[in-house]
């Protein structure tokens, strides 16, 4: 049996200046993305951010108003889905209930009038790739959700596409199965070396299996980076709050004790200004400061105060198994921190110091952790 492999060095995807307006609403605006051959890129964003519309334009189900889509260096913007070298896995799998799994997978090949013997060989190879050969003659209604998902994947890879498009492929599976199937998808994608774009609203899913993640918000790309880079250096306040957990503070007051350690007893009354910390970023504030919970270092006990530490009280403790999330009150401001081992109790007192504080102006990063102190000093001045 041959495996359905095709690794064409040129079969990447280039999307330029894609824009789509539907009923007077701009759904996708000036979308630019380059996906290298064999790469898996996730389009990640909240619902309604235009990620599925973008994917449908890549597949050819929607015509963009402006911009172009090239697959393997060939412009396919004006071609319909039947004429593009791409294959899509739909959110609800879209398996045809009147056909067996085998016939579902064989359908694209029989449409292309591939000889019968070759169809059998390629379909069985694809089913073996997704570990579903034993269900070849079952009907979709008789197999589980995870198996239906794999059958849909087999129907896509049997075509040996230059581009594989996955539309929320795991959203109909339960949590445990989702983790298993996403690893299977990644494994198959890497083995076959298929250039892949996956739409998801689940950041864990995107971070876990993608080479790069494109975070979308309101029809635009906010940032395209590797998962590690995205987490470590979120370039916009939206990305900062969307990826992982983040403390967003509207004023630098809580940080003053951390960053401006040369100022003793930083104005305690100003702490009250941070009461609206962690507000939504739908409309980014003119200025905001963000810090990850793991960079909020909690030290129990109110005894000898460290230089630059702010006194806090533990408000809530949320156990997560191997660590606990702490909600701390710093003179009216609320910040989240994490604690390993035995967590403090609600009502305990302690101090926090902040590391890696990022400064955002109009939602855009102006300063990373390195220059935080200097910028804050400037703001203060």
């Amino acid at each position: 049996m041959t495996t359905p492999t095709k690794t064409d060095a040129r079969s990447g995807l280039t999307v330029t200046a894609l824009t789509k307006v539907l009923s007077n609403r701009t759904i996708v605006e000036n979308f630019e993305l380059d996906v290298a051959a064999g790469e898996l890129v996730a389009l990640l964003g909240p619902s309604g951010c235009g990620k599925t519309t973008t994917l449908r334009m890549m597949a050819g189900f929607l015509q963009p108003d402006t911009g172009s889509v090239s697959i393997g260096g060939i412009d396919v913007t004006d071609k319909g889905p039947d004429k593009r070298p791409s294959a899509m896995v739909f959110q609800n799998y879209a398996l045809w209930p009147h056909l067996t799994v085998f016939k579902n997978v064989a359908f694209p090949l029989s449409i292309k009038r591939v000889p019968r013997a070759e169809i059998t060989e390629r379909v069985m190879a694809a089913l073996e790739t997704v570990n579903l050969a034993h269900h070849a003659h079952s009907r979709p209604a008789h197999i589980s959700g995870g198996e239906q998902q794999r059958a849909a994947l087999a129907r896509a890879i049997v075509q040996r596409p230059d581009l594989l498009l996955l539309d929320e492929p795991l959203s109909n599976l339960d949590a445990k199965l989702r983790v298993k199937v996403r690893e299977e998808i990644r494994d198959i994608q890497q083995r076959l070396g298929i250039t892949t774009v996956m739409v998801t609203h689940d950041q864990d899913e995107a971070m876990a299996i993608s080479d790069r993640v494109a975070v979308m918000n309101a029809g635009r790309i906010e940032q395209v980076s590797t998962p590690t880079e995205l987490y470590a250096n979120p370039r916009t306040l939206f990305v900062a709050s969307f990826i992982g957990s983040m403390n967003v503070l509207p004023a630098p007051t809580l940080f003053e004790s951390a960053s401006l350690s040369h100022v003793p007893n930083a104005a305690p009354d100003a702490a009250a200004d941070t009461s609206s910390s962690g507000t939504s970023t739908d409309d980014p504030p003119a200025e905001a400061w963000a810090v990850r919970p793991e960079d909020v270092l909690f030290e129990p006990g109110s005894g000898a105060r460290r230089a630059g530490a702010t006194p806090v009280e533990v408000r809530r403790v949320l156990p997560h198994g191997h660590f606990s999330e702490l909600v701390l009150n710093a003179g009216g401001a609320e910040v989240r921190s994490v604690a390993g081992g035995v967590p403090p109790a609600v009502g305990d007192h302690g101090t926090v110091t902040l590391n890696n504080v990022r400064h955002y102006v109009d939602g855009v990063l102006v300063d990373g952790r390195a220059r935080t102190a200097r910028v804050l000093a400037g703001v203060k001045a």
Partner: protein, 316 residues
Amino acid sequence: MTDIRSGRRAPVGARRRVSPEARRSGIGLAMALPPVVLLALFVGVPVVLAIGFSLGHTGGLNSTIASIGLNTREATSWWGTAQAYVDVFTDPRFTRDLGVTIGVTVVSTLIVLALALGIALNLRLRGGRLASVFAGLAVVPLFIPVVIASWAILTFYSGDGFVRTVFALVGLTGPTWGYTTVAVVIGSVWTSLPFATLMAISGVQSIPDAMIEAAKDAGASSFSIVTRILVPLSAIPLVIAATFTAIGVLGSFTVPYFTGPNAPSMLGVDISKYFQAFNHPQQAIVMAVVVFVLASGIAFFYVWANFRSAKKEGRV
């Protein structure tokens, strides 16, 4: 009263206690009973009597009709006689009309299915105002009484009708379809189209977009999408439309009576003639039994298709 005051349970109440399930199924049975009894009394009994009469059982409740009717065959054995059936099947008029009835039924059903499916597919795949207008127009015959429609069809295609008049105006000779089997087919299509269209539309519209898009993504042309995805997936509504149309046309009377020729005519008209004009009620009932058997065959196909589809999709 003393029992209630003393707090003891009344022995009568204890004996009458019925489980909630039994009570519910009892209520359900009682609610289903009236229509079942009604059907058994007013349809079941007459059907049994009529079949008995066709086999020559002329006594009892059949005695009146047996004494009025001409050419009545009497039972010669315990189960009766097949002589009335022999009368009918050896009559060349009957076999010819049976052929015409089956022919009109098959042709009308095919045309109705093609039109209904065309309207439904146009609405599903192309959409737009015109497709909606077609779908709306197809339902109009539902609101026009068959008698009136039959007369309209007759005058429209008659020798001095609209079609021939228009043809004559441009110097051509148009077809005369009034009082022909063609007019019967046209009338049957007219009366059956609304229901078939509604069924086809509901069947085709219920197929999720993703199923069509998945086929497009796999490279299927519109023709392949229709023949390999849409039609198989709406098979059950189409089978319902086909069987209901076929049974309706098979047993139709008004359309063939008004628009068709005297000969050959459809069995519905023949039954009426044999019963009233010729006063041969036994032969009329034999023909009715034949129509009933044909309709049962269509009904069996309907049940079989439903079962097969349910089995395929894992519902049974």
